[in-house]
Symmetry: C2
Subunit: 212 residues, 2 copies
Amino acid sequence: MRAEAVGALEPRKTPVQTRSAVTVKSICEATIQVLLSHGAERLTTTRVADRAGVSVGTLYQYFPNKRALLFAVLKDHLGKVTQAVEEACERARGKALGEMMREMVEAFVDAKMVRADISMGLYKVAADVGGTALVKRESLRMRKAVMRMLETAPDVERAPEEVAVQMMQAAVGGAMRSVLEGTTVSVPVRDVRGHLVVLCQSYMAAVMRGRV
Amino acid sequence: MRAEAVGALEPRKTPVQTRSAVTVKSICEATIQVLLSHGAERLTTTRVADRAGVSVGTLYQYFPNKRALLFAVLKDHLGKVTQAVEEACERARGKALGEMMREMVEAFVDAKMVRADISMGLYKVAADVGGTALVKRESLRMRKAVMRMLETAPDVERAPEEVAVQMMQAAVGGAMRSVLEGTTVSVPVRDVRGHLVVLCQSYMAAVMRGRV
DNA sequence: ACCTGAACACCGTTCAAGT
DNA sequence: ACCTGAACACCGTTCAAGT
């Protein structure tokens, strides 16, 4: 298997003046706007620069390449989702297993849904941009939060294997993706939430019963 | 939301002579080879043509554009997976619900795994290529097969809502994707299969019990 | 009926010149 | 310290010319 030829993805220079901090922010915002209005395949560095009111050269002063730009935007978006899940896990400490699953899943689904349009747009670019590495990192953060939460469940004697939690996350994440991409026939958000809650509850319960 | 600007994705002309049938096949094979050896971002129509031993012009005689080429390859691959699942559903008719889930999930996982490298490579291009439309079609075919199977389960009184089956598919598909992309920490295939079987069994059982 | 490959348009990226 | 935009390289796609 090939190693991903990613190249530098980190921002090129850190803005030291207020002017450039504004520039960077406007470039990121312009990226999202272009993504949503023109679509991923028409997202051009020139177009982004235009929209941000700067020249291409300026864009490249802060981002080494197009991927890095999209990477930054993706990172920001995924970070918000992870944070929402972490907070939910914190809130649910000490509750029963079923409640925990509900809080976690609802936080995840809702975080993805607040900016459903951005989530959708970013799925398309994630693959081109080293998104999997990012998803991997965020998954790990979420998994740790979930594991910590599970340790405090009164109705759980010993924590489940980490594989089980991984599968659960991957399943919920995949289902959300499918809904957002419209692969799934359109279903009300409320139903999706409800179904994913049940899915996690029943799977976790089965795992605890040693069904695997 | 923007409509996907797909353009023609169907092959441009149907080979009428043996020579050109060979050409088309070799172009498709070359595509997979280039995808696996050079990676998605270095997959160039010129490179594919070179590898297939023809000129770019010839490639464009059969495929209107690069996307159509990748679309064809993706379609073929997904078709095989769907077929495997359909066959499994056929075999499992009349068995108990738990057995049905096992047969279905194992068929799906195994089909994805036979050519894990191709599955992986194609995930990267799917987004650029109108893959979601294709996935939607294949999902529908699989869902119908699953619904037909479920009707014959002796321990199921009334078939589950279609939403539930959709969620299950999306969850399993997403989990497999996560495993293949390496987002999930590497887990033995056998374990993945086992976990996904339990996930489907417990979720379906919960749905039947009216837990949603 | 099928194949070739030079030519064109477009996009990512750079860098010399400006403030 | 930051910005500009013409110039370059590369890739998708075409089409006049060949067999």
